[in-house]
Amino acid sequence: MAETKKVLIKIKRQAGPQEPSRWEEFSLNWRPSMNVIICLRDIAENPVTSSGKKTTPITYDSNCLEEICGSCAMLINDKARMACSALVDHLDQPIRIEPLTKFPLVRDLSVDRQFMFDSLKRVKAWIPIDGSYDLGEGPRVSPQVQAKGYPLSSCITCGNCLEVCPQVNEHNQFVGAAIISQVRLFNIHPTGAMNKRERLEALMGPGGVQECANAQNCVKACPKNIPLTESIAEVNRDAWKQALLGWLLG
């Protein structure tokens, strides 16, 4: 009988933020259409390394498994991507899996991306409606504005664009491409535009849009193909315009 085909996978383990890290290797039974999540589940059912040592299941974030909740971002063969859509048959083995490095580590592959949600607060990424009671229809929106806004609103806050950005590092608080792109989204909406100024101002201090050094890694790492560099360029232009106007008007 032929030997079962195996999947070799190496995972960077760390029991907690203050603990030392180590690598563990696993050898799993190959099946068609396996993705990285299925590998992690196999390990949970039988947490034994390829050298036969008992270990603990891997802690990781996941939810929808169809690349729309944004949970399962990790480094897979050195690339920031979603684990659910990382198909084993498309990956070189041994598959190397590590947590994202730009966010505080929780345990193993799980990281804390609260910084992104806090940044959404900082830039007031919402339409400030008067209330949830019935106030009639919203403003008309042209199909052209919808076609521009819809891709921007498909951001899943996965953090891959921050992970690959050289400007996101311990020396600054750059909010990153995803957040800037959200500012663009709310600023093109007819109601959102009324508070455009507020959002641009929030992006002008430390960590704001000017921190972008145009490496353009973000747009390549985005699993949703959001035109992030376009967003940064447009928001940057608007921010300069506003700063200049403020200066001229005193």
């Binding site: 059912e45 299941p57 990781y60 929808c64």
Partner: protein, 594 residues
């Protein structure tokens, strides 16, 4: 003066809408969610949200929406609240529109509408094929604003363990577990709204997200909160089979003209594009000429099972049929369906714009859920409210596509308003509750954790879960046979026995997902028995519940709501009449005009 507080458990559409209503009224909210709320399962809803806006000049009305919903649900839903939901739906769309949802637009800048299953009208507003994501984000943004302004406090990364119920049987708060520190803590509140979503994990593989385990509902059930119509499980006709999950292919694919077919010849060797029209069997269109591919989900699912298991016409002898959108212009597909086509392409490596997709039915939604009264989302335990998929009120025996988003938002808003009214009228709130009430619940939960962490056993929770899922999928989904249901129930009881012997492969006290999963699994086992026993008892066929031994709807004996209760640590079924005061039940047929 007493400052009341409301706790909301669950941050999907229903939970967020409840949060907005409560926060707006000035009552502080603590919002609990296992995942950051922006990652909740509502994000997976694809096709759209129903509202009879009649923007295509077809003469659609909220009454017709109401009738379609009741008829689609095979007359099992209590009618008055469904009517109110359908009447509120147009204003819900307006609200979402004001929040900035990037709905698809007509050239005039108005919202566009498409057709969905179980109706003949263009009634479904949509944002590409990721409507749930777009709606969830809109509510998430509004809640973030309330949070920034201090009205809402979020507890993301917490799981719900139990309600805190005092000796007078009134809810005074909740007990939760921090999924990082594994700390068990109680939180006092004057009311708790549960919006904890679906139960897909009970079936192993489903279209649901990982967090949809039904654990919270089950925990409440075991504390005396009744559970209704558990046996009504929706199996979506078109999902992509997968080992980790069944990925949904939205009904909107058919709403936009997608067609379901198989080759007429089971030994067909040609590729799908080489098979001429005359050799294709568009079975839904032939069997249901009036609704065609847009029959309700229970009907389409059974038709596909018939094609595969009785007619033996599955693709290459496998459990699959074609869902074909390859005849629709690429530009239309891009504007209206891109999100789901990307999923297919990404996970299967085949371009569905060129080749028909291969799909098969998959467990999708629970019509049943926490029992609530017919007025204001109140459960049978004072202080506990429920909204969204976790409760049972709106969809009867079968939910129509694009009605879930509207029921989440309507029910969530109503629950928020009801809870506000309730806490304002309370004579004594959580502040008057003895500390011992909280402490005893916390201790009970902490002891459970301690036992799980320290016990030595031979069973792996993941293995028990897999077996449960296979069992439930085989016997308690599309076709139900009494002797199989009996056997399934007995097998679940053996799984419960084996559960007592589980051994955790992780005994640490930091971000221990194994411990959390083990706790959820115990609750899944109980809820799976509620579903199975409800199905076993109901000797008729109605909506999604189909028994070949009893192929017809039996209004004389079974036009009633199943109401499961937890009595002496076991499931007991009771029944109550359905409120049919507005539309008289009539035979449900989609193969001919009504």
């Amino acid at each position: 003066m007493r400052q009341p507080k409301i706790i909301i458990v669950g941050g999907g559409l229903a939970g967020l809408m409840a949060t907005i209503r409560a926060a707006e009224s000035g009552i502080p909210v603590d919002l609990f969610s296992i995942v950051p709320v922006k990652r909740s399962h509502s994000v997976c809803a694809q096709g759209g949200i129903n509202a009879a806006k009649n923007q295509k000049g077809e003469g659609d009305t909220t009454d017709k929406h109401f009738d379609d919903t009741i008829y689609g649900g095979d007359f099992l839903a209590n009618q008055p609240l469904v009517k109110r939901m359908c009447e509120a739906a147009p204003s819900i769309i307006d609200l979402l529109d004001r929040m900035g949802v990037m709905f698809n637009r007509t050239p005039e800048g108005l919202l566009d509408y498409r057709r969905f299953g179980g109706t003949l009208y263009h009634r479904t507003a949509f944002a590409g094929a990721t409507t749930g994501q777009q709606l969830l984000y809109a509510l998430d943004e509004q809640v973030r604003r309330h949070e920034a302004e201090g009205r809402v406090k979020k507890f993301e990364g917490w799981n719900f363990l139990a309600a805190v119920i005092d000796e007078g049987r009134v809810c005074r708060g909740i007990c939760g577990m921090d999924l990082r520190s594994m700390e068990v803590r109680t939180f006092p509140a004057d009311a708790a709204i549960f919006a904890t979503g679906g139960i897909g994990a009970i079936f192993g593989r489903s279209t649901n997200s990982v967090v949809c385990t039904g654990s919270a509902q089950s925990a409440l059930f075991q504390q005396g909160v009744d559970y209704a119509n558990g046996e009504f499980i929706q199996v979506h006709p078109t999902a992509i089979p997968g080992e980790d999950k069944l990925r949904l292919m939205s009904e909107s694919a058919r709403g936009e003209g997608g067609r379901v077919w198989v080759p007429r010849n089971p030994a067909e060797k040609r590729g799908p594009k080489d098979i001429p029209e005359s050799d294709r069997f568009y079975f839904l269109e032939e069997w249901y000429p009036k609704y065609g591919n847009l029959v309700p989900r229970d009907i389409a699912t059974r038709a596909i099972h018939r094609i595969v298991y009785q007619e033996k016409l599955g693709l290459d002898g496998q459990a699959a049929v074609y869902l074909d959108v390859s005849h629709i212009p690429r530009e239309t597909l891009h504007r209206r369906l891109e999100g789901i086509l990307e999923i297919y392409e990404k996970f299967l490596g085949v371009d569905p714009r060129e080749e028909p997709m291969k799909v098969f039915p998959g467990m999708h939604y629970t019509m049943g859920g926490i029992w609530v009264n017919g007025e204001d989302q109140t459960t049978n335990v004072p202080g506990i409210f429920a909204a969204g998929e976790c409760e049972y009120q709106y969809h009867g025996a079968n939910r129509l596509g694009a009605n879930s988003l509207v029921s989440c938002i309507f029910g969530g808003g109503l629950a928020g308003a009801s809870a506000v009214k309730y806490v304002k009228n309370l004579e004594k709130g959580a502040e008057a509750t003895a500390q011992a009430v909280y402490e005893s619940e916390r201790k009970r939960q902490e002891e459970k954790n301690q036992k799980l962490i320290s016990q030595e056993g031979s069973e792996n929770p993941v293995t028990i879960w897999r077996e449960l899922g296979d069992l439930m999928t085989e016997h308690v989904t599309v076709t139900r046979i009494n002797k199989n249901l009996q056997a399934a129930h007995a097998k679940i009881q053996t799984l419960e026995d084996r559960y007592k012997k589980i051994n955790l492969s992780d005994r640490t006290r930091w971000s221990n997902q194994t411990l959390n999963f083990a706790r959820e699994l115990e609750n899944m086992l109980v809820l799976s028995r509620v579903i199975t026993l409800g199905a076993l008892a109901r000797n008729e066929s109605r909506g999604a519940h189909y028994k070949p031994e009893f192929p017809d709807r039996d209004d004389a004996n079974w036009l009633k709501t199943t109401r499961a209760k937890w009595v002496n640590c076991d499931v007991q079924l009771a029944y109550e009449p359905v409120d049919i005061s507005l539309i008289k039940p009539r035979a449900r047929r989609y193969d001919a005009a009504r």
